[in-house]
Symmetry: C2
Subunit: 222 residues, 2 copies
């Protein structure tokens, strides 16, 4: 009994903080992405590519979640957009309290698109809402096509799935046929993008998708 | 107060079960590896290579940990060694209770080396002992050389670190110099192996290391 009660309280607290964060963001019409994947799938590289293409005609801000270091925030900072690094100091996912702290550090009146890069982890981040409009999950070809069925929750909940490092697929036994079959069995509606940051492939399509979502939200729809 | 109490109890329960599992394994002189990494770093592929080389002169058994599916156990089963699949159904790491169930399903009198492949996750599995003699962490070159400092605990606690997919390093910006510098700063004693399952590279050295550990434990040392 005691265990159940504590877990419920913890989740409610995260839900309350997340609801507050969400209201703050919705009131300003800011479109929010929760970007998730395993460590090393290429979240930060994709983000760099997106920022490079979009920053001149769209106000973008980034929240970086990592256990330790500010390596990712430094990479984003180079591109001249506002970025806040959260260090979870061992915790395996971001939560409402951490996001609240990060939002306090941003000038939200100058943001239209907020991308939150979650801790690299294919399991835990999927379980916690952090005020996002959409979740996007990145899988890289070198991780293997068996991952969606082995770690289904994140793929089930995502509005878009990015298959990254598509340029390396020829050096792996990754089956695109199996991948699409499994993604469709988990999530019939997700949009799928095939990208390569090295070859600069698929990024335009992703930017177009994001731009539509940002405009939709600004116009009061989702 | 309530929260702290519950967490303490949970950990104590895992510690107690793990201590029981450890005694069971120690009494039989079975050497136990806790094999950890991100999803898709190549744990199962390395395991297949090791089993293929060692199974004829060493009794090996495997416990596979995954959230869902029995894909990995099926891959191991092909090689004709005893294997038990644990499905955590969403939990992000293995624990003492799950290992106890799996040990009950194995004929431990016929095992000298037990390899436990943990859930693919660079964060949570590092925090839980599961009765192992050593932890081994796998990192693949395609994940990037920044991962040890971003996810330090697993690397700090490991007796060996495997740098896998070394054949793909030329297609990445992975810096071996940075990698070794960071590993040494976290863990001066860890043995490091560079492997490629595609090119069949570095596996002999890893097998030799495992063989020595197994014999050491059988002879009463560690």
């Amino acid at each position: 009994m005691a265990e159940i009660k504590v877990v419920t309280n913890m989740l409610r607290s995260n839900e309350e903080l997340t609801a507050q964060n969400r209201k703050l963001l919705d009131d300003r019409g800011i479109f929010v992405v929760n970007l998730m994947s395993s460590p090393g799938s290429g979240k930060t590289s994709i983000l760099e590519k997106v920022i490079f293409r979009m920053k001149n005609d769209l106000q973008i801000a980034v929240i970086e979640g990592d256990l330790y270091t500010s390596k990712d925030a430094e990479r984003i900072g180079v591109h001249g957009v506002p970025v806040v690094q959260i260090n979870t100091e061992g915790a395996c996912h971001l939560d409402g309290s951490m996001i609240k702290t990060a939002l306090d550090a941003l000038d939200l009146d100058r943001v239209r698109l907020l991308i939150i890069e979650n801790v690299g982890n294919l399991v835990c981040p999927a379980e916690f809402e952090i005020g996002e409009d959409v979740k996007i999950t990145v899988l890289s070809t070198v991780e293997g096509n068996d991952k969606p069925l082995k770690y289904p929750l994140m793929f089930e909940k995502s509005s878009a799935v990015i298959l990254n490092k598509i340029d390396l697929i020829e050096f792996t036994n990754f089956s695109k046929e199996e991948f699409y079959k499994d993604i469709r069995s988990l999530n019939a509606k997700a949009d799928v993008f095939e990208t390569s940051c090295f070859k600069d492939q698929g990024i335009d399509e992703l930017c177009e998708w994001l731009r539509n979502k940002v405009e939709n939200k600004l116009n009061g729809g989702m």
